[in-house]
């Protein structure tokens, strides 16, 4: 029992001083001993095979530490906060909507990955096309429908979601707090244009759209497939495949609509300027583009590998949908403005 | 065993007050500023104003004073719980000021006892021994001895809240004396108890302290505590020590009007010196009469009156009122108008039967003549009559309220005080011989035992 520590105040003070000292020294010592240490600042969805990582560590005589930092936007914020004196060596998770602010803040140093030439141009362009960022994977945010809900013909266009037929049917995420929420907002901007997207959201609001703080609240509680009351939810085109994978099914119980052009969410990695281990960071980027790493991406992160032709597991075919990519060119300021306007529209 | 000495102890009130330096400073009032104020005759806002006292080795001293006069502050300064702004505390001639309370070898029984609620009786008593790092066996022995001495045997395992008031009292005492302090301080040790219990505990306390032989300083506002427990008496008021000495001496010769009043003396007459009905100098007060002074007092009274007149002229002389006091225990009521009394008369306000006889509350002073209601209507404060409680032994039929009675007093028991409340030297002389005077009753003028009249000159 800690109470026993109180011999005298002086002793307690000494103990406290010692502890604080030990903390500081310990913290400092942490960084110095043993093999080289690669620190990765990654968004929360980052995952990979542990065995594969162990192989990387062995090859490079390094230990890899992953710092969780929230979603794409939040990791970028953290990188900007510590620009020039980064807490990590590598940033993974920057996406098509968050990369501009990071580039503006100059948090990356350029690196040409070994397999960069194999990456499709549209992936490179989605994150600015510069050497600072290397696309690793991508996905599409789309409306998913619960096939068991028996809703008849799914909506064929974005605008249809605002029609009375779909009243109270849709769950979306708050773009101010959620990555897919922001992607979906950006998609409405891309498809409907300035003025049009605001009207659309006004109509959605009138049509009793439900807004949750994050993907999990929307998908795991409000979506009728998971016990909620709403048959339409904003999620990913790969979500039906994930359902198959987790429940070990023959066919997905949900479907991605893919009824209109979708925005490609590209996730990229970059070496942080001022990193302690830039060498290792570069090695890791190349490692992320190896066949072995690319092949396990669908299974660990449920997104599409960036290198074309990467072999994928059988159940992943449920994620293969024909998508017409939407185009969007937005500055960081544009995105801020959308979010603010969106919040004003949806605020009660 | 040790002698406790305090030298010109001065201390500001702890709570803000006019000298408020202490309220914001980090610690006890900084020495410099406060001792300045203390040195230059501390005015308002001082709890103690230069107190000197000494309790000799093995003596039990009682410090008597009204609530708020600085008694507790004095104890706390001696114990080291507060720091004096000026002055010193010495034990056997050695200053204690530099020593923290736990190294002073002083025990204190708090007014509220401050027994440790989380420890049982035995561990409360043992506490000081543990702090002094006595070996366990000796500790146990000593605790057993003390529990027996304080008649607490068998209560060792009790919790404090399971004890009666008297038992708590004894535990507190046992705890304080356990580590054998050189000096024991007791702050109103009987204060929280009811009167019958107090009456029962006083002799016990006296006996215990006597048996321990510890130098002890007891603080009380109750005269009876002092009388029954102490050897020496210290009288305090307004942060000053008014008088100190062996109990009988202080009792016999109060140094001032104030002390006399605190010891229970009452004012028989208060007024200027005039020739009395028998031609002798008398203290004359309207509504009381003329109290003729015995020869020994008459002389000093005349001298005091004259010197006051010399100093301040006619107006002063008129104001130079003298006071004659006596202890009620030495007074009797007698029927008025028969010349039996000492010259002071009053009106019966209340009668309290006391066995076959009675105790009479007499109203003395101007207001008494016109009755209380009229006195109040008159508005002047001086007009209000003062009450004096006197025995009635004349006959078994006590007088009715409103009756006028005279007061009879032996001349040796009268005490005379000057215009500024100082005891007049003659009066002191008269009292100084009081103990022996009892045998020399016959030397008093007109010593016929039957003539009550002779009680007054």
């Amino acid at each position: 029992m800690p109470v026993a520590m109180f011999g005298t105040w002086r002793r307690a003070a000494a103990a406290l001083a010692l502890l604080v000292g030990a903390l500081l020294l310990g913290g400092a010592a942490c960084g110095d001993d043993g093999p080289r240490e690669l620190t990765i600042l990654a968004h929360d969805s980052f995952d990979m095979d542990a065995e594969l990582l162990a192989r990387f560590e062995e090859e490079h005589d390094a230990t890899v530490t992953v710092l969780g930092g929230g979603d794409a936007i939040e990791v970028v914020s953290r990188a900007i906060l510590n620009a020039g004196n980064p807490e990590a060596d590598l940033l993974f998770g920057v996406d098509n909507l968050s990369y501009r602010r990071a580039l503006d803040a100059g948090v990356f140093e350029p690196y040409r990955a070994e397999r960069r030439d194999e990456l499709p141009a549209e992936l490179l362009d989605a994150v600015g096309g510069g050497l600072e960022l290397t696309p690793i994977d991508y996905g599409f945010v789309d409306v998913n429908v619960d096939l068991a809900a028996d809703v008849g013909a799914p909506p064929a266009s974005l605008q249809e979601l605002a029609e009375p037929r779909w009243r109270g049917a849709l769950v979306v995420q708050d773009p101010a707090t959620s990555s897919p929420g922001l992607q979906f907002l950006a998609l409405t901007v891309a498809l409907l244009g300035e003025g049009g997207w605001q009207e659309f959201w006004e109509a959605l609001r009138a049509n009793d759209v439900r807004v949750t703080g994050g993907w999990s609240a929307a998908y795991l509680t409000e979506f009728s497939h998971n016990g909620g009351q709403r048959p339409l939810v904003v999620s990913y085109t790969s979500s039906p495949a994930a359902e198959v994978f987790f429940a070990d099914l023959d066919a997905p119980p949900t479907a991605s609509l893919a009824a209109w052009p979708l925005l490609r969410q590209v996730e990229a990695a970059g070496v942080l300027a001022g990193a302690d281990e830039p060498e290792l960071a570069r090695a890791f980027i190349d490692f992320m583009l190896t066949d072995a790493f690319q092949a396990q991406i669908p299974r660990t992160m449920f997104v599409y590998p960036a290198i074309p032709g990467t072999p994928t597991p059988a159940w992943w075919r449920w994620a293969e949908v024909d998508v017409e990519p939407a185009r969007l060119d937005a500055s960081a300021e544009d995105i801020d403005r959308w979010v603010r306007e969106w919040t004003r529209i949806l605020r009660r | 065993m040790a002698t406790l000495t305090a030298r010109s102890l001065t201390r500001a009130y702890l709570d803000a007050g006019p000298s408020g330096g202490a309220s914001d400073a980090g610690g006890p009032a900084s020495d410099g500023a406060a001792s300045d104020a203390g040195g230059a005759d501390a005015g308002e806002g001082f709890a103690l104003r230069g107190v000197d006292l000494e309790v000799a080795d093995g003596r039990i001293a009682a410090l008597l004073g009204p609530s708020g006069c600085g008694k507790t502050t004095l104890l706390r300064l001696i114990a080291g719980l507060d720091r004096p702004d000026a002055g010193d505390v010495l034990l056997d001639g050695e200053s204690l000021l530099g020593r923290p309370p736990h190294r002073r070898g002083i025990g204190l029984v708090f007014q509220e006892l401050a027994l440790f609620p989380h420890l049982d009786v035995a561990r409360n008593v043992e506490f000081g021994l543990r702090m002094a790092r006595w070996p366990r066996a000796r500790r146990r022995e000593r605790v057993a001895e003390l529990l027996a001495l304080f008649e607490l045997d068998g209560l060792g395992a009790r919790r404090i809240h399971e004890l009666s008031g008297g038992e708590r009292q004894r535990v507190a005492l046992a705890r304080a004396v356990a580590p054998e302090p050189g000096v024991l301080l007791l702050d109103e040790p009987l204060g929280s108890l009811d009167e019958p219990l107090k009456a029962q505990l006083r002799p016990q306390l006296r006996a215990l302290l006597g048996r321990l032989g510890t130098t002890a300083l007891l603080v009380s506002h109750d005269l009876r505590d002092a009388v029954e427990v102490a050897d020496d008496l210290l009288v305090m008021a307004d942060g000053r020590l008014l008088q100190a000495g062996p109990l009988p001496e202080v009792f016999a010769a109060p140094a001032s009007l104030r002390v006399a009043e605190m010891l229970g003396y009452v004012t028989l007459a208060h007024g200027p010196l005039r020739p009395g009905p028998h031609g002798r100098p008398a203290v004359v007060e309207e509504g009381v009469g003329a109290l003729e002074l015995p020869p020994a007092l008459a002389e000093v009274a005349a001298a005091a009156s004259t010197s006051a007149a010399d100093a301040g002229g006619v107006a002063r002389a008129r104001a130079a009122a003298l006071s004659v006091l006596a202890h009620p225990a030495s007074l009797l009521c007698v029927p008025a108008g028969r010349g039996l009394g000492c010259g002071a008369e009053g009106r019966v306000r209340r009668v309290r039967p006391e066995g076959p006889l009675a105790r009479i509350e007499l109203a003395l002073g101007r207001g008494a003549e016109v009755g209380p209601a009229a006195g109040a209507a008159a508005g002047a404060r001086d007009a209000r009559p003062r009450g004096v409680e006197v025995r009635w032994e004349w006959d078994a039929q006590p007088p009715a309220p409103g009756t006028r009675l005279a007061i009879a007093a032996r001349p040796e028991t009268l005490r005379l005080f000057g215009p500024r409340g100082e005891a007049l030297p003659g009066a002191r002389n008269a009292q100084g011989v009081a103990p022996s005077g009892r045998e020399s009753d016959a030397s008093a003028p007109g010593a016929a035992p039957s003539a009550r009249r002779s009680l007054c000159p």
Partner: protein
């Protein structure tokens, strides 16, 4: 006389001896990171700039956030008091079987991670929850707590009712019953007695509890983030968005200052009220009476209140546990728990036992440090006088008022160089936990310390104990109850801490709340999240029980 209360324990003496080390510890751990972030905000280019201030002041959006934050905090406080006061009466006045256990369980919601509570609420009151099922049965529409104000308020009450019960109940239990008895004898009925005698006597305690609930709900983050919707953002959430998502540090800094100002005002009011509430009263024996000594009406009332409280506090937790157990309609299974232990072969795998171990390690370390800081801080506050004491009190409670994200960012930007580069270090998490935990130790300790008779340590001094031994042998044992209660809170708060940990997290050192959050964010993770939440709930309840049962060697009933 008045001087009797002065002396060794006199306010003022030793305040700095105790306060200075605490301040010296808090300067680098709290003041420096906070100042660094705020300075970066208000002076983005190294010089003070009023631009952000103008932006914020001229934007109606921010004013509305402030208004909403204030309004929901006031409403939550009123509701928590309304629900908590009868509960406080129950615990203070009635001795029923399992009272200690019940009191420990009542504390559990307060220390559960907001994340878990939000999930539990959705499990219970969500569109598919038991409540909705019940409503649907009688033909009423299903509940939609997502983005509804009532859900936020309900969650706030669920969280904070323990504060009211413990704070007010504690004072109530020690209230001298004679005043009430006198009132009854003077002809006051039970209700009049309650209104005219009991409630006024409890006034300061109620106000203090209210101030604390206001503080917690004013700075509410997790609940609002999960349950809230557009337009239902508190200042804290707005600050989080500005800082973390929009990297608008200047605006975030201005809003942080606004929040700090408002919370400091609440804290000062609380500190002042506490000072008044602690008019020294002797520690009295428990006044609770056994059930059998109550009238039938009182018994029925107590039973009804107990049941209502159990339902309100228990139902969401039961729903959570049920969700963790039931996989499908086949009935309860342990599949979700088993899933926790299945090696996935991925780096995202967090072994539940490892997470539990880290949680317990952080909690133990943070509790130890919090005890040092909290007890020293409480002693300093108790001995400081007047306004200084109130100020010190409020300042030491600051960690409760600082937006977690601001503190987290502060840590990331100040402990970032050379030997004090602690980013990614578990020590930083420990320090953050200590910071959020010690105010609870301070509060609990201060409460008993203020009721301590100052003559007791003085008596010890005169019996030969030096200041340290007097403290060790007399003050500490007498404070032990409060210190223990504080330790319970500190331990549990650290167990459930999420905000700061999430900013400073690192996978190898993941705690249970982090594991829960992680599971929630992954496809197919809800079951695991529920299972983990259940484990965390049980561990929290068990720790609360164990610690509150521990008896200090020298302490007994009095």
């Amino acid at each position: 006389m008045s001087t009797a209360s002065a002396g060794l324990g006199r306010p003022g003496t030793g305040a700095w001896r105790w306060g200075l080390p605490v301040v010296l510890v808090l300067l680098p751990l709290l003041a420096w990171p906070l100042a660094a972030v705020l300075w970066r905000g208000v002076a983005p280019d190294g010089a003070l700039s009023a631009e952000a201030l103008r932006t914020v002041a001229s934007d109606r959006f921010y004013w509305e956030r402030l208004g909403f934050t204030m309004a929901q905090a006031l409403a939550s406080t009123a509701l928590a008091l309304a629900v908590g006061l009868p509960g406080a009466a129950l615990f203070a006045l009635v001795r029923f079987p399992g009272r200690g256990l019940a009191l420990a369980l009542v504390t559990v919601p307060f220390v559960l991670p907001t994340l878990v509570v939000a999930v539990a609420f959705l499990q219970l009151a969500g569109p598919d929850g038991w409540l909705s099922d019940g409503l649907a049965l009688v033909g009423l529409p299903r509940l939609e707590p997502q983005g509804a104000l009532w859900a936020i308020l309900a969650a706030h009450v669920f969280f904070n009712v323990a504060i009211v019960i413990r704070l007010v109940g504690g004072v109530w239990a020690n209230l001298d019953p004679r005043a009430e008895e006198a009132a009854r004898l003077l002809g006051a009925g039970p209700l009049a007695t309650l209104r005219l005698v009991t409630l006024p006597a409890l006034g300061p305690a109620i106000a203090a509890a209210g101030a604390l609930v206001f503080l917690f709900t004013f700075t509410s983050f997790g609940v609002v983030l999960v349950l809230g919707g557009p337009g239902l953002d508190t200042l804290e959430v707005t600050i989080f968005r500005l800082a973390v998502r929009l990297v608008q540090l200047p605006e975030a800094a201005i809003l942080s200052l606004v929040q700090l100002g408002a919370t400091l005002a609440a804290l000062s009011a609380y500190a002042w009220l506490q000072r008044r509430a602690a008019a020294r009263q002797p520690l009295r024996a428990d006044r609770a009476r056994p059930l059998s000594a109550l009238s039938w009406r009182a018994r029925a009332l107590a039973a009804a209140e107990g049941l209502a409280l159990a339902l309100f506090l228990g139902a969401p937790l039961a729903a959570l546990a049920w969700g963790a157990l039931s996989v499908d309609a086949d009935g309860p299974t342990l599949a979700h728990f088993r899933a926790l232990f299945e090696e996935t072969g991925r780096i995202s795998f967090i072994a539940p036992l490892d997470a539990l171990r880290w949680s317990l390690a952080y909690a133990a370390g943070a509790t130890a440090l919090a005890l040092l800081l909290g007890v020293a801080g409480a002693t300093a506050v108790a001995r400081a006088r007047g306004r200084l004491g109130t100020l010190l009190d409020a300042a030491l409670m600051l960690p409760l008022a600082v937006p977690a994200v601001v503190l987290g960012f502060g840590y990331l930007t100040t402990f970032d160089r050379g030997w004090y580069d602690l980013r990614g270090s578990p020590w930083l998490v420990l320090l953050a936990h200590t910071l959020v935990a010690y105010p609870f130790v301070l509060r609990a300790t201060l409460a008993v310390q203020r009721s301590l008779d100052p003559r007791l340590p003085e008596a010890a001094r005169l019996l030969g104990a030096g200041p340290a031994r007097a403290w060790r042998h007399v003050e500490l044992p007498l404070m032990a109850r409060g210190v223990l209660a504080g330790a319970v809170f500190a331990f549990a708060v650290s167990l459930g801490e999420f905000g700061a940990t999430s900013v400073l997290r690192r996978r190898e050192f993941a705690t249970l709340p982090i594991a829960i959050f992680d599971a929630l964010g992954r496809p197919g993770g809800l079951g695991r999240a529920l299972a983990l939440s259940t484990i965390l709930m049980l561990v929290t309840a068990a720790s609360v029980l164990v610690i509150s049962r521990a008896r200090y060697r020298e302490i007994g009933e009095f």
